[in-house]
């Protein structure tokens, strides 16, 4: 049985539908990442799951019990969960006092609180700040206090809303390590919202893509990142080459997609005549200055129209008669002297092309 089951959940704020027809099941011990752009409804959904708000319609089952309607059962269910909000909120008391709150509210004894708080403080590596006022901590430290406060009550479900938003890379890495540690130690079920798709990929067993209040796709990270179900998901998961076309031919699972005079070959089951989008991840495209022997079925020549470096990688925009974006290392871009107006050969495999039916 699923620990959390959300059925046909809808949420309206005024006339606006913030969540539409949400259906999710999360099993015990599972980590689900809800990824989606800012404003997609991730926080709204987490608040509903944590029973902080009432849904407009739909059902939420916690461990088999319907907890949708107001009543004592909601408080009891909420006490088996913990929610770490996006903005690290700490009470105006010591770090120790902050972590002890949830335990006090559950009627824990002084000794048991003392033991638990100290052990959690050690786990989050904040023992030295035990007596310090939590309001004086940095953003990353405050977030660790918020997580420590949540795990001190040993929740069956831990809800994390953008746990590393606005944190520096070192603090982000520490929080991610902490989340992994929590999963390993307590086998806690985690539902986390993040707009950072790679974080979802690193931490979650399963990913749900929430866009404009709707779950567009759920599945393993590989499935979501390489086989997006629709154009919106493809765009969100970073597929920069989404080219409209029509299946012109199909043979033994390989189709030829006519993209307006040119043909892209892809592995697909769609029939001839189907209107599709051919999706190619920029990192699956190989660039060369001259035609080289290759097993890749797709090879196009074009002119570089843009070069943008981001960290150790460089995005190369090419006009092949249709726009194409490739991703190469900055070192390669420099060695091959990729610059605007230069002609290059772009190749990619048929297996690297994912086709999506156009609505």
């Amino acid at each position: 049985m699923s620990l959390i089951e959300v059925i046909d959940l809808h949420q309206k704020h005024g006339e606006q539908n913030t969540l539409k027809n949400i259906n999710i099941r999360v099993d015990k011990g599972e980590t689900l990442a809800l990824i989606g752009p800012t404003g997609a409804g991730k926080t709204t959904l987490l608040r509903l799951i944590d029973l902080l708000d009432l849904p407009t319609s739909g059902k939420i089952y916690f461990d088999g019990t319907d907890v949708t309607e107001p009543g004592r059962v909601r408080l009891e269910a909420r006490r088996r969960m913990a929610f770490v909000l996006q903005k690290p909120v700490v009470f105006n008391t010591s770090v120790y006092g902050n972590i002890a709150y949830g335990l006090k509210w559950r009627g824990a004894g002084k000794n048991s609180i003392h033991q638990k708080v100290n052990s959690v403080l050690e786990m989050v590596n904040l023992s030295v700040y035990k007596d310090r006022n939590a309001r004086t901590l940095s953003g990353g430290e405050a977030q660790r206090v918020a997580i420590a406060r949540a795990i001190a009550i040993e929740p069956e479900i831990l809800l994390l809303d953008e746990p590393t938003a606005n944190l520096d890379p070192i603090s982000t890495s520490r929080i991610e390590e902490l989340i992994t540690d929590i999963v390993n130690r307590y086998n806690t079920t985690i539902i986390m919202a993040t707009h950072d798709m790679t974080q979802g990929q690193r931490l979650a067993d399963r990913i749900g893509v929430l866009i404009d209040g709707e779950i567009h796709q759920t599945g393993g990270s590989t499935e979501v990142f390489t086989s997006p179900r629709n154009r919106e998901v493809a765009e969100f998961v970073g597929i920069e080459n989404i080219i409209n076309g029509v299946i012109a031919a199909s043979k033994e699972g390989v189709v030829a997609v006519d993209i307006g005079g040119k043909v892209i070959e892809a592995v697909s089951d769609y029939p001839v005549g189907e209107e599709v989008c051919a999706c190619v991840r920029p990192e699956d495209i190989t660039l060369a200055l001259s035609p080289a022997p290759t097993s890749a079925r797709n090879s196009f020549t074009g002119e570089i129209t843009g070069v943008v470096s981001v960290g150790a990688l460089t995005h190369i925009k090419i006009d092949c008669g249709f726009p194409l974006i490739a991703l190469v290392t900055k070192r390669s871009a420099e060695e091959l002297n990729f610059e605007i107006t230069k002609r290059v050969y772009a190749t990619f495999k048929a297996t690297g092309v994912h086709t999506i039916r156009r609505d």
Partner: protein, 228 residues
């Protein structure tokens, strides 16, 4: 001018020598006003929490009404309490007229709007995410209210001190329902009023100085609290 100056010198002597009459009046003023501030707090803080944490029709109007009563004249409350507790009044049978008890009651009525209004403001000033965090950690409605009050504690304490300041400085209620009875209901403000009318400026100035000193201490405490 000389008279005022001499009165001021004499006032300092009365204070420094801890004149028994001055000390007795000042002590009574403090006891009555501290009691009324504390008792009003016991009623107003929970009541303000109930108003803040619940949504009901007319809530905004009620808060506006409470804020309007911040500046109600003390004589109006004095009159109301007088009518209530005078021999012919509905509570006349309690025989509380011209006692410190009825003065406490009157001052409580006076400062209730201030305490209620400022406590509601203090609670409204607490970040909404504190409520969400408390609830998400499993706090019940009551536990959430307590944690929010705790977060607003400095502002709530400031409200109590403001209430105390208003109580100790009022004269209308103390005079009308206390009766300014020497050794029983005479407080600083009523004594100043009486002694000035009798022409005894020295005692008036001494008591006035003590009142200003108390106001100074209240302000000092308020500033310290607000700086936290």
């Amino acid at each position: 001018m000389t008279e005022i100056w001499q009165g001021f010198i004499k006032a300092i002597e009365l204070i420094v020598s801890l004149d028994p009459e001055v000390m007795e009046i000042a002590g009574r003023s403090l006891i009555i006003s501290v009691t009324s501030a504390l008792l009003a707090s016991l009623i107003c803080i929970p009541l303000a929490s109930v108003i803040h944490f619940h949504y009901f029709p007319g809530k905004r109007i009620l808060i506006n009404l409470i804020q309007t009563f911040f500046s109600i004249p003390t004589v109006a409350i004095g009159l109301f309490v007088f009518v209530l507790f005078s021999r012919a009044g509905p509570l006349g049978g309690l025989n509380l007229m011209f006692t410190p008890t009825v003065m406490v009651l009157g001052q409580m009525i006076l400062i209730t709007p201030i305490l209620l209004g400022l406590t509601i403001s203090a609670l409204s000033g607490v970040d909404k995410t504190i409520v969400d965090t408390a609830r998400s950690l499993g706090a019940s409605g009551f536990q959430t209210a307590v944690v929010v009050l705790r977060e607003a504690r400095f502002a709530v304490m400031a409200a109590i001190i403001m209430g105390f300041g208003r109580a100790i400085s009022e004269v209308g209620i103390a005079l009308m329902v206390g009766g300014n009875i020497r050794g029983f209901t005479r407080v600083i403000t009523t004594a100043i009023s009486l002694e000035t009318s009798k022409g005894d400026l020295e005692l008036s100035i001494a008591l006035g100085t003590i009142l200003i000193l108390i106001a100074l201490m209240v302000n000092f405490a308020l500033n310290r609290i607000q700086q936290r």
